[in-house]
Amino acid sequence: MFAYGFMRNAFLASTFIAITCGTVGVYVVARNFSFLAHTLSEIGFAGAAFAVWLGIGPLWGMLLFTLLGSISVGELSLHSEQKESSISAISALFTGLGVLFLAISGANSNYATNILFGSIIGVDHQGVIQLIALSIIVLLMIFSIQRSLNFDSFDHIGALAHGVKTGAVSVIFLIALAMSVSIGAQIVGSLLVFILLTLPPATANYLGKTIPAMIGWSVFFALIGVWLGLYLGYITNLPVTFFIAVIEVAVYLVTYFTHIIKHSL
């Protein structure tokens, strides 16, 4: 399998993406941002379609839209009383825009499928380098604010009481989240990127009792998902995204039910 350049590219890119999404995802779950991550992936779809219409790489359109989207949606969700309705409205608007951009750009339906459901096998060498560079930037951003981010994400009220600058932490995290959505969408597609950002960390919640342990478990399950998904996709010729989704859901359900059974004994 590794004799093929495209498979080597796919494995390399998805390894970095899994590490990034697994790490960022722990904070997505701790901050109750799962719904926001889902909305951002729809905004990312519109951004990718916009880029196709402009004739530039979908990744850049996605980055642009998710960055603008995460700051505005993040602010809305922090301050608005109608949090879920306002996020739904934004999500509807952007999905509509995505459809519009695809239609007027005249791209064929294959392109839309790639954006929505991922196309890791199609990533070229330059694409891999871009994804790795962006992953490293995201991880450095998280690392540089880790102390405040940990406190704010896992004990917001305590962080406020200790004078942590929670507003600044929130903005930096939203930028990191937007970038994670954009790069994660390159393997699993914008429709399913929230899988990598929410399921491995949700599983890790049951297994880790410290933040490093949770990040470790989350990255581990994200890696298992993408590696096994790529392998199964390769040997069956079925979509990689399908396998990643099934693996992450299965791991989550097994962990969840084990947790329930343990606690009812």
Partner: protein
């Protein structure tokens, strides 16, 4: 004993509503004071001003030089699924990569608050009293010499209340930590506190706890 806190003519208004008006009082270094008053009289507002989380409409307050303030707020978002262990929760107030000194400081506070034996219990599965002691341990990690607790006993059963209050009294006696304890539980304050501040109808009274009954009940 010298003053640790001096509050002068402090007033707070939200829109046109006066929360309180011209509060003036002093707290002595090493004192154990209950901030009493019915619900909704502005106790938490006063604390938020002292913690610089709110700006007063007028008036001023000064802490003595060298005061390191610890604060345990009233509410926390810890649900039953909350994943972190008690030790990890307390350690949120420290860098994630902990050197020996930090680890030792966390251990010391866990022992002080009687949580060391159960440090690996998840916060989500800890009892109300254990959670309150963990909040306190987290605040103690800053090595404060004055600590403000907001309604720390409000949701606890009588045994957990006594345990927490004994711990607070111990911190005051052994480590000379000045305590300002916000509560509306007058009998608890009688049992454990030396002085009181009574906030009601926008005014404040200050005195010895033993004198409180005659004055207000």
């Amino acid at each position: 004993m010298s003053d640790i806190l001096e509050v002068n003519n402090l007033s707070m208004r939200f829109d046109k509503n006066n929360v309180f008006d011209n509060l003036t009082f002093r707290l002595k270094r090493g004192s154990l004071t209950a901030l009493l008053g019915p619900n909704g009289t502005g106790k938490t507002t006063l604390i938020n001003i002292l913690m610089s989380m709110l700006t007063p409409s007028s008036g001023s307050f000064t802490f003595a030089d060298g005061v390191r303030l610890g604060y345990v707020p009233q509410f926390r978002n810890i649900d039953a699924e909350y994943p972190l262990s008690i030790e990890a929760f307390v350690g949120l107030n420290a860098p994630i990569i902990k050197n020996g000194q930090t680890k030792e400081a966390i251990k010391k506070q866990l022992e002080e608050t009687n949580l060391y034996q159960i440090k690996n219990t998840r916060m989500g599965e800890a009892s109300g009293g254990q959670k309150q002691r963990a909040y306190l341990a987290q605040a103690l990690l800053d090595n404060p010499n004055m600590i403000i607790l907001d309604e720390a006993t409000a949701s606890l059963d009588p045994m957990a209340k006594d345990e927490l209050m004994k711990l607070i009294r111990h911190l005051n006696e052994k480590h000379k930590i000045t305590v300002l304890f916000v509560t509306h539980d007058i009998s608890l304050a009688h049992k454990y506190m030396q002085n009181y501040l009574y906030l009601n109808h926008g005014q404040i009274e200050h005195g010895e706890m033993s004198q409180f009954k005659e004055a207000y009940e």
